[in-house]
């Protein structure tokens, strides 16, 4: 049983962690002549962290029910392009609905495949990633054949990716993610699947319906990430050769660190904090002059492994 002494000890640990992070931030700020904690850098940091945060929220639902979906990166690419395509046609509603609806449709297709084919989800996910990448390529080629390129949002249409709109969307996302995961029947049913389909069924939970709902909910968050990505970067190039897989590593690192801290802080709140922390590490590496594309990706790989190991501590089964 947890005693007051243990609770006090845990609180002290949390305070120490926060103090260390603050001290490190102040130290970096001093080392980089105040540039690290400057308003412009903080806006860049938080805005960049919000995009993977939405993906990590989606992943929380996928991992909670013991599934793995490797096609999320490819879904983001296609959904972002749909956000661009419809955004150019219908303005902001097109940006939002194009991204979200594409995300929901594609992720629902994935989960329908997981449920009805019974193929291990990580295998089916890789297959779907290949298909979605190919679809993206056909789409891109069709555009070129028609004398166009993949959509690129112009100035005003990119507003959703800038402050304060990106923060408003983030706040709405946080409330929705927290409530769905912790305070809804479907959220708790999804988490029950993590104990095995058989047990959930014996509790009277409609497991097939619940798994498909995971696709819909995850698709919603992935779709949000996609339209934010498109808004922030103006365009998202088509990926091939399974390179879309690399898009899930940063959110995955945020998810893993959040799951390490989930005993202390609710995972849905932990995800944005940890995504920010992960992105901050990249920011520091950039300040230090570490080249992106090689060493920064190597550091991301190390972060994923380290956080994975931390997430696995005191857990009997292997972390997904």
């Amino acid at each position: 049983m947890e005693t007051n002494a243990i609770k006090k000890k845990n609180s002290i640990k949390v305070i120490i962690i926060i103090a260390v992070i603050l001290a490190a931030a102040l130290a970096f700020n001093a080392a980089f002549d105040g540039r690290f904690l400057s308003a412009s850098n903080l806006i860049v940091l938080t805005s960049h962290a919000i995009i993977p945060t939405f993906v990590a929220w989606g992943m929380c639902f996928v991992f909670a029910c013991d599934y793995t979906d490797m096609s999320i990166g490819a879904v983001i690419v296609l959904s972002a392009n749909m956000a661009g395509e419809f955004g150019l046609m219908f303005g902001f509603p097109g940006v939002i609905l194009g991204g979200v609806i594409s995300g929901i449709v594609l992720m629902t297709i994935n989960f329908l495949i997981f449920v009805y084919t019974k193929i291990p989800s990580w295998i089916a996910g890789i297959g779907m990633a290949m298909i979605y990448e190919a679809v993206g390529m056909f789409y891109s080629n069709a555009k070129v054949d028609a004398g166009m390129t993949i959509p690129q949002l112009d100035g005003d249409l990119r507003m959703l990716g800038r402050a304060p709109y990106i923060y408003i969307i983030f706040a709405i996302g946080l409330v929705l993610a927290y409530i769905i995961y912790n305070r809804t029947e479907i959220g708790l049913n999804i988490r029950s699947l993590g104990n095995g389909i058989k047990l959930s069924e014996s509790m009277g939970i409609n497991t097939a319906k619940t798994i498909i709902m995971v696709g819909i909910i995850c698709g919603f968050f992935v779709g949000c990430s996609a339209f934010l990505n498109e808004s922030y970067n103006a365009r998202l190039s088509i990926k091939t050769g399974l390179t879309s897989l690399s898009m899930i590593f940063q959110p995955m690192a945020g998810y893993m660190l959040a799951s390490v801290l989930s005993n202390k802080i609710n995972i849905m709140i932990g995800v944005p904090i940890c995504s920010l922390l992960v992105y901050t590490i990249f920011n520091v590496l950039t300040f230090l002059g570490v080249p992106s594309g090689t060493w920064q990706e190597a550091v991301l790989g190390i972060i994923v492994i380290v956080f994975g190991v931390l997430a696995q501590r005191n857990v009997k089964k292997v972390v997904k």
Binding site: N182, R183, E185, L188, N195, L199, E201, G204
Partner: protein, 499 residues
């Protein structure tokens, strides 16, 4: 007589196996019915069909005069039938209170959102109503002991205010105080006109609690008899189809072991689990540990084997003068551990009997070769199956297809095939039938004769009294008393120290 449930010609098949064969069964309102039978006799299958966990293949069920065909447990709960299943059935990553109402959370919706406070409040009210041992409702079940999780399951079964409550080997997971609580609950429910079906391998307990007992053998209902005129020996005879003679336990009344100390435990402390525990275990000794729930006996087993690390004190194998700090230290120096929760903590359920037998002995099987030959695994597993009379189709059968008793034979046998000095057994007869129980006690006595030092942790007082040379009673993580066989070695004396 007022029949609440009538079953006619009920059949259930799992592939070629006939689990229930044309069972006719009538249950009266307000009756407490015991179901007895060997492991694999079809008791749990029968009850799980009544509770909607399995769908029947043939036959009819009439509940309160109407045909009853539950599609799932929630359907059964709606029809006022609740069940607590033999193996643990909780959603580990969800709070205890959510587990109580899982599958029926819709009733707590306020708009699209659940009223979590109401879930916790209703769970607490349910525990209060039935006098169940309190659990932390907001904590997830994976942070709880097996007994607390059983309480959650019991609360779940009671949450539908059942007219028929099915308890499948519940007492096996409970310590004495919670067993007493359950007995009180059963009589309270009977007074309220509820019907209860109980499976327990403790036949004395069954005769004590029940009005009637039905005996199943090989999937068929053999006989239903009144508890007023039946004996334990008669039930055993009906269960196995022949007479079973002799006692389960040791027949000697004095302790008998060597002076040679095998394991020395000095002032071991693990915060919130055990405190300042010291004792010695001798060659050829069976040292029993008992206590109420949260007494620390099960935690101590894990500490001795190096699963839980201790802060202060020492656990030393005296003959080798080696301190045990990890599982590796324990295994490589002739120690073994048989945990209480065999499915989750001991066996590879989706792997073969052969692999499970081989697992603790991989080093010995490999020897100096660069690989483990399949024939050596086969030979070892076959010896294990033969020596410990494991009922199986072949050594390559998967563990999850075995009955509880046969799983435990593999679990225990794979260690006893090795050259051991010390074995820790935590509730070794949990969920096994009388014949397997008798067999395990027989195996323990043989091992004792051969000089093995045994720590027997048990929630069943007759078991520790019947088998131990010395007995240590724990309370709140501390040793409260030590008893020696032949000197005031009675249940009453133990209970006085335990409570």
């Amino acid at each position: 007589m007022d029949a609440i449930l009538q079953i006619k010609g009920l059949c259930k098949y799992f592939g070629p196996t006939v689990a229930n064969n044309h069972i006719d069964f009538t249950l009266e309102r307000g009756e407490i019915r015991g179901l007895a039978g060997e492991n694999g006799s079809g008791k749990s299958t029968l009850l799980q069909q009544i509770a909607g966990i399995y769908i029947k293949d043939e036959g009819t069920m009439i509940l309160n005069g109407k045909e009853y065909n539950p599609k799932n447990p929630v359907d059964a709960i709606k029809n006022k039938i609740g069940i607590v299943v033999q193996e643990l059935g909780v959603l580990n990553n969800l709070p205890a209170a959510v587990n109580v109402f899982a599958g029926r959370l819709g009733q707590f919706k306020k708009g699209p959102v659940l009223d979590m406070k109401e879930i916790y409040r209703q769970a607490e009210a349910l525990f209060d109503k039935y006098g169940l041992m309190k659990v932390p409702f907001e904590k997830t079940c994976d942070t709880m002991h097996i007994e607390s999780r059983k309480m959650v399951e019991l609360a779940r079964a009671l949450s539908g205010d059942p007219d028929i409550l099915i308890l499948d080997e519940v007492t096996q997971s409970l310590s004495q105080n919670n067993r007493n609580m359950l007995y009180r609950l059963i009589s309270q429910l009977k007074e309220a006109g509820k019907t209860i079906i109980i499976i327990t391998h403790d036949l004395e307990e069954m005769i004590e609690i029940c009005d009637n007992i039905s005996v199943l053998r090989d999937g068929e209902l053999i006989e239903t008899c009144s508890c007023d005129d039946i004996t334990v020996d008669r039930i055993k005879q009906l269960m196995v189809g022949r007479e079973i003679s002799g006692d389960y336990y040791r027949t000697d009344s004095e302790s008998d072991y060597s002076d040679e100390v095998m394991l020395e435990v000095k002032n071991v402390t693990v915060p919130d689990e055990v405190e300042d525990v010291s004792f010695e275990l001798h060659k050829g000794e069976i040292l029993g540990f008992c206590g109420l729930s949260d007494s620390g006996i099960h935690d101590l087993g894990k500490v001795l084997y190096g699963i839980t690390s201790y802060k202060n004190g020492s656990v030393t194998l005296k003959q080798k003068n080696i301190e045990i700090r990890s599982i590796h230290d324990a295994i490589s120096n002739g120690m073994a551990y048989v945990p209480k929760d065999r499915d989750a903590e001991a066996l590879m359920m989706t792997d073969s009997i052969a692999s499970n037998f081989a697992l603790p002995s991989l080093d010995e099987l490999q020897g100096k070769k660069p690989y483990i030959s399949p024939s050596s695994i086969k030979q070892m597993a076959q010896k294990g199956v033969d020596d410990y009379s494991v009922k199986c189709s072949s050594i390559y059968q998967h563990m999850d297809g075995l009955s509880g008793g046969n799983k435990q034979k593999v679990n225990l046998g794979r260690w006893l095939l090795k050259d051991l000095d010390v074995i820790i057994m935590d509730c070794p007869t949990r969920g096994v039938d009388v014949s397997v129980k008798a067999y395990i006690y027989h195996v323990m006595q043989n091992a004792k004769k051969n000089g093995l030092a045994i720590i027997l942790i048990s929630d069943e007082l007759p078991e520790v009294l019947g088998m131990s040379d010395r007995l240590i009673v724990m309370k709140n993580g501390k040793i409260r008393g030590t008893f020696t066989r032949g000197e005031n070695f009675t249940q009453e004396a133990l209970i006085e120290v335990m409570v």
